[in-house]
């Protein structure tokens, strides 16, 4: 007859932590760094080019804030949507997400 303590011991033996594969770890880390690096680069390039013209100073600040805030959300949404529709691999969805952010930032900054 199993006692409470025995069951807890069994649970400890059965439910051990599971190590993710190195491939997943690398893929996630690479994907997240691409997303964050890209967002920062895009903003920096655009800020430099736009701030030369004083007429853009007001809209620039507003757009930087809006673009930065939108970037993260867009990556997630687009990655998930594409994943659902196409059933593609994880890296592909991350790459699509990165491209979408880049294109979204460019279009926002052109306005």
């Amino acid at each position: 007859m199993a006692e409470m303590g025995d069951v807890e011991a069994l649970l400890r033996s059965a439910l051990v932590p599971v190590e993710p594969s190195e491939a997943l770890s690398d893929r996630l880390q690479r994907g997240l760094s691409e997303i964050t690096d890209l967002a920062v680069e895009e903003l920096a390039d655009w800020e430099l080019s736009t701030m030369r013209d004083p007429r853009n100073w007001g809209p620039t600040v507003a757009a930087v804030v809006a673009g930065g805030a939108a970037a993260g959300g867009l990556v997630v949404l687009s990655a998930r949507q594409r994943r659902r529709h196409r059933g593609s691999g994880p890296m592909r969805s991350l790459q699509h997400g990165v491209r979408e952010v880049s294109s979204d930032l460019r279009s926002r900054l052109r306005r």
């Binding site: 599971v18 964050t36 920062v40 930087v64 959300g73 990556v75 997630v76 994943r83």
Partner: protein, 178 residues
């Protein structure tokens, strides 16, 4: 450029969170979905979702650990995963735990069967009880963390875990008797 500096700090914090809890999220996902392929998918989606809401979560955490928040995201995504695809949790979890036992041949066979019974028992528990046990035993979360992840009081969480263990105990007894 203040926004960029803030973003870099935020990204650095997020990287730390990711490194500290990748195994937790993956373990939780694995025990929820029962296979490595979908667990990877769920883990990936969890971190992307977390990245999206990280700034707000950090601001509202008031210095408390973010692991329960992260596990809650995985919990919600897992619920969607089953709802969207009308899937049931799988019980084939052998490669995670059962194989890792190190005993002589006879006890290994007995031990494997015992652990297999435990895993099957966990899989058959109601969702909230199963999840509480996964968080407690696979992730080593305490009652306070589990309560935050499941959006319950600490008292209710303590009762939930107690009942889950009692139910599992009964199931194992019935399996031995039957």
């Amino acid at each position: 450029m203040i926004e960029s500096a803030d973003k870099r700090r935020l990204d650095g914090d997020f990287t730390e969170l990711y490194r500290a809890h990748l195994r937790d999220v993956y373990s939780y996902a694995y025990y929820r979905v029962g296979n490595h392929h979908d667990a990877e998918d769920l883990t990936e989606q969890t971190f992307l979702q977390a990245y999206r809401h990280f700034e707000r979560a950090q601001r509202e955490s008031d210095g408390r650990p973010l692991r329960p928040w992260l596990i809650r995201i995985a919990h919600n995504l897992a619920a969607n995963y089953y709802r969207d695809r009308s899937r049931k949790p799988q019980t084939q979890l052998e490669d995670a735990a059962v194989v890792s036992a190190t005993h002589d041949t006879e006890t290994l066979v007995e031990g494997r069967q015992e652990l297999r019974d435990v895993l099957a028992g966990v899989s058959s528990l109601p969702d909230d009880r199963r999840e509480a046990l996964i968080m407690r035993f696979a992730l080593g979360m305490d009652n306070r963390e589990i309560a935050r992840a499941l959006d319950r009081s600490e008292g209710a969480t303590k009762v939930l875990i107690h009942r889950a263990i009692k139910q599992l105990e009964q199931q194992l007894e019935e399996a031995v008797d039957g």
